[in-house]
Amino acid sequence: MARETRPETSATDGPGGGRSLIERVETSLLALPLDPPFTAAIRRFDRVYCILAEIACGDGAVGVGTGFAFSSGDAKVILSAIQAAKPVLLGASTSQPEKLWRQLSDNATFLGRSGAASSAIGILDTALWDLHAKKAGMPLWRMLGGAQDQVIAYASGGSLGLSNDELVAEMQGFVDAGFAAVKLKIGRQDWHEDIERLAECRTALGDRVRIAADANQSWSLKETVQRAGHLAQFDLWWLEEPLPCDAFEELGEVRASVPMPLASGETNANLSDFARLLNGRAVDILMPNVQRVGGITPWRKIAAAAEMRNVPIGAHVQPEIQMHLMCAVPNGLAVEHVAWWPWPYEEPLSFEGGMAKPPEAPGLGVTLDRDFVNRHRVGHPS
């Protein structure tokens, strides 16, 4: 039989006594249409779903965690995994996020430590850290160590569905808006078109703008090595996810033989996967997705393991959360500003001179835009 641990609700009060214990965990699902749709090598996105978790304590403090999915079915699976996690949280103290993470993880062991259960824990863990930092009266990035005051912000776009002219116009628009670094999708059916598109972008943007290219797991080992030879002329900031996320050994071989830095990690979930990426010297830049890995608690461990090997850690989407994580650690590289991707926050991140600065308000420092939430909510709140 599978190993199993019964949820154990902590009776240990944190600072503030019994009133600071968790009383409610509420979730909402928002459907956000994309116009126009966004196309990456892996699929076309017509809308994004935002999964919202609010954890409320008896003393009125509320922590907010947000996550995402690209289909309502996937979002519902994550929401049901959040329901399965609730008994662990209700009545627990928020002053020990590591302990709660272990209990959430043990509670999900039967369902597997990766996959939807991990995403659910990721969203809840983020809300718990928001609460923890709010109660301490500190912005999360300072609470977690505050290694940097600002990091590079790059603008991410370059849908495969854009024409070459539209692509160049979008990239030029990012630079005109102040960004000095951009990312675009590659992985067209005919790879020669990837080369043409990059050539046009490089010509239009000049030599000084950083350009990263994301293949979303669409190439094989040999395709990557051959195409990387052609991509070398464009001085890429990095080449992202050329191979399937779990092709650990192949990634290591690619990294050893291509000239540009290699980034991967956003689709991996288990801590042991990140150990394999690092131990196998498979990446130059590690890019864990905070939701998929199970939240900020395991993200910090991945970041520390990368730091020990002098590997920078990159952000993957969710800039309002990533902003804090990037500034918390010394090897945080850059925040990804995804122009086409809306989030339900009142305060947009500010980018000045191509840099992003974290907020000083306690916790994540975000306020939910209630009108936005109500307008896009699907189904009933729970």
Binding site: R3, R6, K76, V77, A84, F110, G112, A117, A269, N270
Partner: protein, 361 residues
């Protein structure tokens, strides 16, 4: 032929006696019953199980989500559809909940394909009919020595030639005493398997395993956390008793890694985690190519078919918890199981049990 509909039902089966272990207190067994129907009226079934209603609901939501990938397709193209489902799981992550759903849909599609061919599953898969030995499992840590000794003797009387007991008590000497008592009670000719349920750590696993070796242990199952492969490989090379593991692994890729790590002598493949009948057979073939036997993890009413088609199946695990779900579950005879001759899996959900134990929405 097209897949036209999906029906899912959650059924909570109460245990006659709750299961208590240091990490378990379980009163009910939750199951997601899955039925696929085609436009021609053919049905295929499968089920998933979990401890806890909220977990069963997660699995049910995932099955309903992943169903959109196969709806409208010909279930006989099950291998191509398997691949399509796997690709669709990129977002939620391979393994975990996604693979449970992939398993349920693959098994139900394979059931339809075999029924469409008019063949029992074992013949549809190319197997030869044979009787297969089954082992009994139980003897939980929560029970006193006298109780588990009586339980062990009961299994031997029923005809089982292999029995499995739990070990991993806080006090290592207690494990030795329990294993010694059971071995003495069953005599030298019954195989004794030990299941640690991932409960040991490397600080004393080698010492504990060696202290149990005098009692002729056939294998030790899940001695360490399932993903501590380096540690498990070190344990495997330090002791003489074979190690069985794998019931927590997803997909053939994890089995390849398990085999290559040298951590396991007897891979155990779980139908609802590996990826259904199609992936179960691929994982078993992978083990065969490395000259390793395999043991199916529970699901004996389905595994009995798979064992006819996979020559390296050692024996079957027989846990009768799920018998109540079916009209005519395969019956044990003289410690052995044999598959039926009805088309497909030859299984029908017992409507009276569903009505009695159906969980409310």
């Amino acid at each position: 032929m097209k897949i036209a509909s999906l029906e899912t039902t959650i059924v909570r089966l109460p245990f006659d006696k709750p299961i208590r272990t240091p990490v378990h207190y379980i009163e009910t067994l939750e199951n997601v019953l899955v039925t696929l129907r085609t436009d021609e009226g053919l049905e295929g079934i499968s089920y998933l199980w979990a401890f806890g209603l909220s977990r069963a609901r997660v699995l049910e939501a995932m099955v309903r989500d992943l169903y959109s990938v196969v709806e409208g397709s010909d279930p006989r193209q099950r291998l191509a559809l398997w691949d399509a489902m796997r690709r669709d799981l990129n977002f939620l992550g391979r393994g975990g909940v996604g693979y449970f759903a992939l398993s349920a849909l693959d098994t139900a599609m394979t059931d339809i394909a075999a029924r469409a061919a008019g063949e029992p599953m074992w013949r549809f898969l190319g197997g030869a009919e044979r009787e297969l030995e089954a082992y009994a499992g139980g003897m939980f840590l929560s029970d006193q020595i006298e109780t588990i000794v009586e339980e062990a003797q009961g299994y031997v009387k029923q005809g089982y030639r292999s029995i499995k007991m739990r070990v991993g008590a806080a006090d290592a000497q207690e494990d030795v005493a329990r294993v010694a008592a059971v071995r003495e009670a069953i005599g030298p000719h019954t195989r004794l398997l030990l299941d640690v349920v991932q409960g040991w750590s490397m600080t004393d696993a080698i010492k504990r395993a060696r202290s149990l070796e005098p009692y002729d242990i056939f294998y030790i199952e899940d001695p360490l956390l399932y993903d501590e492969l380096d540690a498990m490989a070190a344990l495997a090379s330090a002791i003489d008793t074979p190690i069985a593991a794998g019931e927590n692994n997803y997909g053939k890729e994890e089995f390849l890694r398990l085999i290559q790590s040298g951590a396991v002598d007897i891979p155990m493949i779980d139908l609802q985690r590996v990826g259904g009948i199609s992936e179960w057979l691929r994982a078993a073939s992978l083990c065969e190519a490395h000259a390793l036997p395999v043991v199916p993890h529970v699901f004996h009413e389905i595994s009995v078919h798979l064992a006819m088609a996979a020559p390296n199946v050692l024996f079957l695990e027989h846990v009768p918890w799920w018998d109540r779900l079916f009209d005519k579950p395969p019956q044990l005879q003289d410690g052995k199981l044999r598959p039926g001759s009805e088309p497909g899996l030859g299984l029908r959900f017992a409507q009276d049990a569903i009505e009695t134990y159906r969980a409310e929405r």
